[in-house]
Amino acid sequence: MTDANGQGAVVVTGAGSGIGREITRLLLEQGIPVSAWDLNPGDLTGHNSANLMVRTLDTRDKAALQKAADETVERFGSIAGAATCAGIFRPKPFLEVTQQDWDDHFGINLRGVLFTCQAILPHMRAKKKGSIVLFSSTLARTAKPTTAHYAASKGGVLGLMRVMSLETAKEGIRVNAVSPGIADTPMPNAVMSRDVVLSRAEGNPMGRIGTANDMAQAAIFLLSDDASYVTGQDIRVNGGQDPF
């Protein structure tokens, strides 16, 4: 990642809400340029500024990703980092999961991540430097009823992350994952009552649920040069609830 005076932007997908929104805020606070991509950029819409480029796009759309990556390089010189936060979570009992549910989850949570990285990597390769952070989930390793399709897509993210890290390790590019436990963002709140979301603090060793900031800080660390010897890793940010 670049410092305030350096060059290169960080691409954040899912930048319109939750964790991606918080990563965007923290990067801008540090003076790092952000290319913010989302299907629905929310309150970022139209907020293009000296350090911020906002693109409304669907991460399933390869051509749109390619165009946004090229425009980012035109605008900021290079792409130094990426955090892929675009994702969906629509829990359902396994037997009720439709092909559409499956395709939506795999299309956005996994294929969209592959396409995003394919659009960005050539730009990083050209500079022999870069850091990519993919958002997986604690559910990639643990299990909760009604999350089969989501958990499978997030497990796929870990596989993608590890192989990408191997293929780029000698080129100065690092690829890691952040796996949140529950984070108090619109995502869980959209499918669970407030009481259920808050009740997840019970049984957590830290006695609380996570925040968007907790997750964003881990991504910011991995994007930074402080993580220069960290690649291929899955950083689980879950208060110690599932410590494996």
Partner: protein, 245 residues
């Protein structure tokens, strides 16, 4: 802020002491008192504050006395439980004493230090601990059975402490460094053996190079800081990709 670092006279402990000294007083603890004193001098030369302690973590009484003295300099908010040794012997030749020394230094030694520090941290409901495990905790390595077992013990203890003390707002994590170019890699090796080991480590590491102690220190700094406020019970690997799981 006051930070206690064991094994701070050399390698990863030393690099972490130098880095954290920018925001904390450092209690530089090592069984090698001369090395500890030298690190304190380095910190002071850079404008920081530090105190040297000569202590062997095998000695529970000495550990408790050291922690008491360190606490007297200011409440210990952060502990980097890091002192360790390495031995390379095939299991057929390994003696009981060597096995004990390995397990006692890592598991029992870190237990003594963590216990003494936690007794003070718990009532204050604030603190962070990082313990040095290794890549080898999750990976079998020929000729290093005792070291692997000791480092796995450290990791298991870390997970247990993380769950036991989360309620007290104390986070406990482990680091699992890959091949890092510190004096421990040279220990007991001829120059030729050392170079062969470097080459083997470069070959097994996707990044194709050994890590620097400063690159591990940066991870420890993160895990001891508020930036990792929800990371607990984890084994964090600065390892150039050598192990992924």
């Amino acid at each position: 802020m006051n930070t206690l670092i064991t094994g701070a006279g050399s390698g990863i402990g030393r690099a972490t002491a130098l880095r954290l000294a920018k925001r904390s007083h450092i209690c530089v603890a090592d069984k090698n008192g001369a090395n500890a004193a030298a690190v304190v001098k380095e910190i002071e030369a850079a404008g920081g504050k530090a105190t040297a302690f000569e202590v062997n973590v095998l000695d529970g009484d000495a550990v408790r006395a050291t922690v008491a003295k360190a606490e007297a300099l200011g409440p210990i908010d952060a502990l980097f439980n890091n002192a360790g040794i390495s031995v390379r012997t095939t299991i057929a030749d390994l003696t009981g004493d060597e096995w004990d020394l390995m397990l006692d230094t890592h598991a029992r030694g870190m237990f003594f230090v963590a216990q003494a520090v936690l007794r003070n941290m718990v009532p204050r409901k604030k603190g962070a601990i990082v313990q040095t495990s290794s890549d080898f905790a999750v990976m079998g390595v020929p000729g290093m059975a005792a070291y692997c077992a000791a480092k796995c013990a450290v990791y298991s203890m870390t997970k247990a402490l993380a769950q036991e003390f989360g309620d007290d707002k104390i986070r406990v994590n482990a680091i699992g460094p890959g091949p890092i170019d510190t004096p421990i890699l040279r220990g007991g090796r001829t120059e030729e053996q050392y170079r062969a080991s470097v080459a083997a480590n470069e070959a097994r590491t996707p990044m194709g190079r050994l890590g620097k102690p400063e690159e591990v220190a940066a991870v420890v700094d993160f895990l001891l800081s508020e930036k990792s406020a929800y990371i607990n019970g984890q084994l964090f690997h600065p390892n150039g990709g050598a192990v992924m799981w």
